[in-house]
């Protein structure tokens, strides 16, 4: 943070784009700025609205050389932009050197990347000494835009000022003078621990809970614990279901009536899509759990006390479904929170309980606590 820790004392901020560079179409500038603000919005309670006239908290402008703030730009290269910490007047504003060639890709200077950095200053973040951080002062020409994400250092920094985002849009966090505490951080050792969703990913297992996930690798004893947004800034928190289609190297993430596809840290273009495109009837509003059987190449979707089976080869829902969970998975609770397949077994999670199910013997082989994978 800046000396004196300046920050906005409100969570809704206005921004105004004062002028435009000629390097890009106006829509591209608008989009880059909106996307840059969204990077910070995803991990805080902050919201932004655009105004096209009058005063705004964050005024964004393109300028060359002397531009009236005693910090002249320096022509092409070197300084790309600068921004002021939160406050009235010029404070909070972001200026971009229009002697740079601004681009939407990385052929020139990428406006989104620089804007996300400068707007970090506008929100109160100082430079980071972590080279992986967006707030590192040197522009990284090698940044893969498709894989862009905030570092944990960026997230920790901004959340030290504003706290974490509210759990759902229905429960906005009230503006407060003190740092909001945000939703409680889940504890791996909580005996009542339950999961929102579980998926494998390239040989690891991801356990999703609220806005965090544990990453269990069999190469290390201790699971890692991360913010979902630090890997996938555009994904929502509080997921419903997830599964990995291993032959495609894709993890599908479900929340409400939408689903996303991710490959590694890259959210695939064209998503989110509606779950009804998979063949669910309109009466299904959300998925409770999903599990991919890599031997059968089939995905099981659990909704209430029923399940559907999706043929990944044919890309269609199999006929004869839904069926009762209790009928084909004897001993498994009718309400499944999360599920995944590993070592030839199916693992079903319901609240703080977990059942290991042998699909060949069609019977439950172990009853465990949900947290058993987290080495607690």
């Amino acid at each position: 943070t800046f000396p004196g820790i300046p920050k906005w004392r409100k969570t809704h901020l206005t921004y105004r784009i004062m002028n435009y560079t000629l390097d890009l179409p106006r829509e591209a500038v608008d989009s880059a700025i909106e996307k840059a603000l969204n990077v910070w919005k995803e991990v805080t309670p902050l919201t932004f609205s655009r105004t096209d006239e009058g005063e705004a908290d964050i005024k964004i402008s393109f300028a060359v050389r002397d531009h009236g703030d005693f910090s002249p730009f320096d022509g092409p290269g070197n300084v790309l932009g600068h921004a002021y910490p939160p406050g009235p007047g010029i404070y909070g504003d972001a200026h971009f050197d229009d002697d740079e060639l601004w681009t939407s890709d990385t052929s020139g200077t990428n406006l989104f990347l620089v804007a996300a950095h400068e707007l970090g200053h506008s929100l109160g973040l100082f430079h980071s000494a972590d080279p992986r951080a967006l707030m590192y002062p040197v522009y990284n020409t090698l940044t893969d835009l498709a894989r862009f994400r905030l570092s944990q250092d960026d997230v920790d920094g901004i959340q030290s000022l504003y706290g974490a985002p509210p759990v759902s849009p229905d429960e906005p966090m009230a503006p407060t003078e003190s740092v909001p505490s945000g939703p409680e951080t889940p504890d791996a050792c909580d005996p009542a621990l339950s999961f929102d969703a579980i998926s494998t990913l390239r040989g690891e297992i991801l356990f999703f809970k609220d806005r965090h996930f544990w990453r269990k690798s069999f190469r290390t004893l201790e699971p890692g614990f991360f913010l979902i947004s630090s890997f996938w800034p555009s994904l929502p928190s509080g997921l419903d279901a997830a599964y990995e289609e291993t032959s495609k190297d894709i993890v599908f993430i479900f929340k409400g009536d939408q689903f996303w596809a991710i490959r590694g840290t890259e959210v695939q273009a064209g998503y989110p899509k509606g779950i009804h495109t998979l063949g669910f009837p309109e009466t299904v509003g959300k998925i409770d759990a999903a599990m991919f059987d890599k031997e059968k190449k089939k995905t099981f979707f659990f909704v209430g006390d029923k399940y559907w089976r999706f043929d990944e080869k044919r890309q269609s829902m199999e006929p004869g479904f839904p069926k009762q969970i209790a009928e084909d998975f004897p001993g498994v609770d009718p309400k499944v929170d999360a599920a995944f397949e590993a070592f030839g077994f199916y693992y079903f999670f319901s609240g703080s309980s977990q059942l290991e199910f042998d699909p060949n013997a069609r019977q439950v082989t172990h009853a465990l606590k949900s947290r058993s994978w987290l080495n607690c």
Partner: protein, 83 residues
Amino acid sequence: YPADRAAEDEDIMELVQQYLENYYNLAKDTKPFVRRREGGPVVEKIREMQKFLGLAVTGKLDSDTLEMMRKPRCGVPDVGEFT
């Protein structure tokens, strides 16, 4: 060999002086390269810069340090009072 080595050295000194003034709060009247056995404010600032930017902390203008200083960057200072 460069056509004019002396001019190139002068450019580097100018670059270093300005970089340290702009981003590392080096006092503007600091004589840049008066050689001292224990280093001086410039060497200390170079060390500070190298540490902040994650470079090897040598206090010397090695090629990695110069390369980093020539990269495009944000104009907000890395350390010191923000004004």
